[in-house]
Every structure is written in C-alpha cells, then in structure tokens.
Amino acid sequence: MIRALAALGMAALLAYACAASAAEFGTKDEAVAMVKRAQAMFAKAGADATFKAVSDKSTAEFHDRDLYVFVYDMDGVCVAHGARPALIGKNLYDLKDQDGKYLIRAMIEIAKASGSGWFNYKWPNPINNKIEDKTSYVEKMGDYMVGVGVYRD
C-alpha cells in the first residue's frame, strides 16, 4: 500500500519535471533560428556591432534561456560569447572537452568544410554551471565561425 503510494508520488514528480523542462530549455530549431538572426545582423550591421550585441546579456534577441551565441575566428580565438565574457580574446583552438575532443577546432573545421553543421560535445551550462552534453549548430560567418547550442536531456 505504502509502496504503491510512493510509486504514484514519484510518477507525478517526473511528469512535472518533464513539463517544466519543455519550457525551460531551448530547442534545436530555436538554436538554428538564433544563428540565422546573428548572420542577418552580421550582414547588416557588421562584425563589431554584431559581436557587441551577442556578448551583451541584455540583448534578448541573442539570449533566450540556455540559448546564446558564440563566435570564434578561424584561429580559434573567441571574439564574442553570449554566456562567458571571460573567454573573449582567448585562443581556445586547443580546448578539449572531458572526452578529449578538440571541440573548437572541430566546429571551425565544420564551418570551413561544409559551411554549417551540428557537433556534439560537453560544455558548462550557463544556468547551473554544470558540465553537460551539448549539441551546437555552427555556420561560417565571413572570416568567423558562429554557433548556438542546446543542452541535451
């Protein structure tokens, strides 16, 4: 009897969590859309204005829940970052995730080779600073690589 009640409680909690997550995290489509917005601004307002807007957390256009924009040059230097301003100006070409993937290097390669694509890696979530699995969509943007990622699960 008690066990049955406990199981029922757990099921209810789980259902609530799932419902909440649907609203809390951005989706892949939303990520792609944000990249496109960045591309549009880059084409219209130029690199510096775009980078400033992307890095400024008050710009709602580029900041939506756990979604943000990051821009690297082709040498791996971070030029704009929506979540982690400390990284701006740092060369992360050799940065590895916990699985040993050279993630910046790999995303630059995708941008260079096919112009756009998805890439899976691990990255700290800006909401809770926990390192989580992330899938990012990247595109080539002039001499830069621009990307937005979603945290899986």
Binding site: R84, A86, K90, L95, K96, Q98, P124
Partner: protein, 563 residues
C-alpha cells in the same frame, strides 16, 4: 760468442732493456690517463651542471603547474579574491623563475648543437604553456567552470613542455654516456697497454735473467763446485772451454790451484810414509814401557785402595763419635742455661732485699733522730714547768700581804661602826659606809684565800707534770737505745745481703762463663761433626778416585798395548 762478452757489458745491456720497457710503459700510461682526466673534466664541468639546470627548469614548471590547478580549484570553490590574488602572484613568481632557469640553461657556453636545437623547441613550448596558463587564470578569476574546462588545454601544454625537457635531458645524457663510453674505452685501452707493457717487461726480465744465469750464474756454479772439490782435495776435476771474459780468467786461475794441489798431495804422500815408519817404532817402545808401568802401578793402586778403605771406616767411627758429642753438649748447654737463669733470679732477689733493708735502715735512723728531738723537747718542757712553779710560789707572799690589808681594813671598818654608833644620828650615814667597807674587806679576804688555794693546786699539778715528764724522758731515752740497737742490726743485715748479692752475681758470671764455654764446646763438636762428615766424604771420594785410577791405569795399559 757469449763467452767473449764481459759480464759488465752483459748486465748493462739487460738493465738498459728493462729500463726502456718501463719508460715506454710509463709514457703510454701518462697519455691515456690524461685523456681520461680530460673526459672526466668535461663531464664534471659541463654535462652534469647542464643536466642539473634542465632539471631545475622542469622542477619550476611543475611548481607553477601545481599552483595553476590549485588556483582553479580555489576559484571553483569560492575562495575570496585576496587569496586568489596572492596565489596569482605566486604563480607569476614561479613563471619568472621558470624563465630565469631556462635562460641560465640556454646561456651555458658548452652546450652541443643538438642540445641547443632541443632548447629552441622547448622555448616555443614554454611560451605556449605560459600563454595558456595565463588564459586559464584570467578566465578562472571570473568563470571557474570555464577555467576547469580549459585545464585540459593547459595540461597538454605542460605535457609538451615536460617531453621537451625530457628530450633535452636525454640528449645531455646521451652525450654523457658517449663520454663515459669514451672513458671506459680509454680505461680499457690503458688497462690493455699497461698489461701489455707489463707482459713485455716480465718477458724481458725473464729473458734477461735466463741470459744472466746462462752466461754468469751457471759458469760460476760449476766453478764453485770445482773449487769445493779442490778444497776437499779431489784434484780429478776438469773445466772445459775457458772463454776470454772474467770467468775464463777465473777458470785459468783454478787450473793453477789444481796443479798446486796435485803437488801438495804428492808431498803429503811421501811425508805420510815416513810418519808411519816412525809410529811403528814408537809402538814397540810403548809396549815395553806399559809392561813396566803396569808392574809398579798396579801394586801401588791395590795398596792405596786398601788404605783408603781403612780411612773410610775410621772416618765413619769418628763421625758417629762427633755426632754423640754434639748431642750431649747440646743437652749440657740447655742445663747450664737453666742454671744461669736460676742464679740470675737469686741475684735479682738479693738485690731487691738489699734495697728493702736500706730503706729500713733509713727509717730506723729517722726514728732515732725524732726520739732524740722529743727527749730534748721534753727536758725543756720540764724546765719551763719548774720556772712556772717558782713564779707561782712568788705570788704567795703577795696574797699574804693582801690578806693582812683585808684584816686591817676590817678592823678599821669595825672601829668606824663603833664611832658612828657613838655619834648617834649624825653618824648614821657614816655607819652605812663603814658597813660597806667591812663587807668589801671580807670579800677581799675571801678572794685572797681562793687565790692561795688555786696557787697550791697549780703547784701540785706542776709537780705532777714535772714528774710525768721525767718519766717520759726516761722512756724516750730507753727508746733511743732501742733505735740505736735496730740501726746497728740493720747495718749488719745490709752487709750480709750485699755479700749474698755479690756471691749471686759472681755465681751468675761463672755460670755464664760456663755456658759460653759449653756453647764454644758445642760449636767445636759441630765443627768436628762437619769435619768428620767431610773426612768421610773425602774418604769416599778418595776411594772412588783410587778405583778410577786403577781402572784408568788398566785402560791405559790396554790402550798402550793395543796401539
């Protein structure tokens, strides 16, 4: 050929060869040793310090790296900004010392090209590592999560630096190893050359020794043998092929010795023959002499033995007598000593007695003197008493006079009483005075009578005292006579005691003399005993000698006859 070379030349040649060998070996050793020393020097001055400098670079990098990790860890766990700032400073200092150590290593003047190439590569890696590390720290100050992500990157750079440092170390080690190998090779060469030199030296010395033995020792040995044989008189020896060196000349000299020896042998042979003839003649004479000698000596010896036997038995008897005497005289000595002791005790007693008697005489004399003094004092007391009696008697007329005065006074008082009664009332006072005077006169008469009575008592007492003193004096005189008698007796006794003492003294002296004589006698008896023992020993010895003489004479005769 060898026999023509002189010994001096031979020895000179051999020793020169040995010296040259040693000199050559010394030169070889010097050359290889100096190469070894050079290599060791390089190793010590250049390779080892370069290695140490590379290790220092590595250590400082490790030091910095550990602090970077600590920084990120602190930042992730919210350690405050001040502590993080301090740690950042420490890390900067660590990097400064990395740079300093690297510069010190790169500035070493003796680095090989390979090491310099390695160092250039390392410089690039170090720069990259420092840049990466600074990025991590910058990010870590505000974004620890990201810095944690970046640690992998820093680690890769660090690993790259580490492997480059290792490569530098490996290159230096390889160079050191090459030098060590050179050293080992040089040491091996040295060992080989020393061994070879030694082998050649040993071979030379063996050859030289063999040569010396062949050319010097062996001929000398054979010469020595020949000379020994010559010295024992064996002239049947020959030395062949005399050379022209010192040994050849020696052999010639020995040949001369040999010939001389042969001549001496011939002379000796002829002399021996003559000697033998003379000896045969003498033996005959000796035999005759022996016969004669035996005849006389044997008889004498037999007699001598007999006489000695008699002497020996007499000596035995004498020794026994002497022993007896000795024992007896010993006993006598003891008796005499006892006697002497007794006599001395008597003498001592007599002496003590004499002392006692002297003391007695002194006391008797004292008594005599005191008695005489007492007698004299008693007589003077008697005289004094007589004087007292006389004085007392002289008082008597005075008492009579006083008596008369008292009677007259009494009469006068009576008269006055009468006259007063006649006067009546006018004479009443006077009658009282007259009665008073009368009473006084009566008292005076009574007193005078008392005095007369006392004087007569004194007189009779004095008379009794005089008579007593007279008796005392008579007694004392008697006592004086006795004392004189005692004194005389004691004098006689003292004389007798002195006589006894003198006699005892004399007896002691005599007995002492007797004891001395007997001790003397005893020592003579001892001497006699010892002498008789000696005589006996001598007799025994004489007997043995006589026996010996007899045996020897017989032996001598046998010998003479057999000669």
């Amino acid at each position: 050929m060898l026999t023509r070379v002189t010994i001096r030349a031979t020895t000179l040649t051999v020793s020169t060869a040995a010296f040259l060998c040693l000199f050559g070996m010394a030169v070889a050793v010097y050359l290889t040793s100096s190469q070894v020393a050079r290599n060791l020097d390089t190793l010590l001055r250049s390779n080892l310090p370069a290695r140490a400098a590379a290790v220092a670079v590595n250590n400082t990098v490790v030091n910095a790296h550990m602090r970077i990790f600590r920084y990120v860890s602190w930042a992730s766990n919210g350690v405050n900004a001040t502590l993080l700032g301090n740690l950042r400073q420490e890390i900067d200092t660590a990097f400064a010392s990395v740079d300093r150590n690297f510069k010190a290593l790169a500035a070493r003047p003796d680095l090989s090209d390979a090491v310099q190439a390695d160092l250039r590569a390392l410089q690039g890696k170090l720069n990259k590592y420092e840049a990466t590390a600074k990025d991590v720290l910058d990010v870590g100050a505000t974004d620890p999560a990201m810095a944690t992500m970046m640690l992998g990157q820093a680690d890769d750079s660090f690993t790259a630096v580490g492997s480059d440092v290792r490569r530098v170390l490996d290159t230096i080690t390889q160079q050191s190893n090459a030098m060590m190998a050179d050293l080992a090779e040089a040491t091996r060469t040295e060992t080989f050359s020393i061994s070879a030199g030694l082998a050649i030296c040993i071979a030379f010395s063996i050859a030289g020794t063999a040569f010396l033995i062949r050319s010097i020792v062996r001929p000398i040995t054979s010469i020595t043998q020949v000379m020994q044989k010559l010295s024992t008189g064996d002239t049947e020896v020959a030395l062949n092929s005399p050379g022209r060196n010192e040994i050849g000349r020696m052999i010639e000299a020995i040949e001369i010795f040999r010939r001389n020896a042969l001549e001496i042998q011939a002379m000796q042979a002829s002399r021996r023959q003559a000697d033998e003839q003379r000896a045969a003649t003498r033996r005959g004479e000796m035999n005759e002499l022996a016969e004669e000698f035996e005849g006389s000596v044997k008889h004498i010896a037999a007699e001598l033995v007999e006489a000695v036997t008699v002497v020996r038995s007499n000596a035995d008897v004498m020794a026994q007598a002497a022993e007896h005497t000795r024992t007896k005289s010993g006993t006598t000595v003891q008796a005499v000593v006892n006697t002497q002791q007794n006599v001395e005790i008597v003498a001592q007693a007599a002496s003590e007695l004499s002392h006692t008697i002297d003391e007695l005489a002194r006391r008797a004399h004292d008594v005599f003197k005191i008695t005489n003094e007492t007698a004299a004092q008693s007589e003077s007391a008697s005289a004094e008493l007589a004087k007292l009696t006389t004085s007392v008697e002289q008082i008597l007329p005075i008492t009579d006079l006083i008596q008369g005065i008292a009677q007259q006074t009494n009469l006068l008082a009576l008269n006055a009483t009468i006259e007063a009664a006649r006067a009546g009332a006018a004479g009443k006072g006077f009658a009282v005075v007259a009665a008073e005077v009368k009473s006084l006169a009566q008292q005076s008469g009574n007193a005078t009578e008392e005095i007369a009575h006392r004087i007569s008592t004194v007189r009779s007492t004095c008379a009794a005292a005089v008579s007593t003193i007279g008796q005392i004096i008579a007694a004392i005189k008697n006592l004086s006579t006795f004392a004189t008698d005692i004194s005389t007796g004691i004098g006689q006794q003292s004389a007798a005691t002195a006589g006894i003492f003198a006699s005892a003294q004399s007896a002691a002296d005599n007995s002492r003399a007797v004891a001395a004589n007997i001790v003397d006698l005893n020592s003579h008896a001892d001497a006699t005993y010892a002498a008789s023992g000696e005589v006996l020993d001598a007799a025994k010895l004489l007997f043995e000698h006589t026996r010996g003489v007899q045996t020897n004479v017989e032996k001598f005769l046998r010998h003479v006859r057999s000669a």
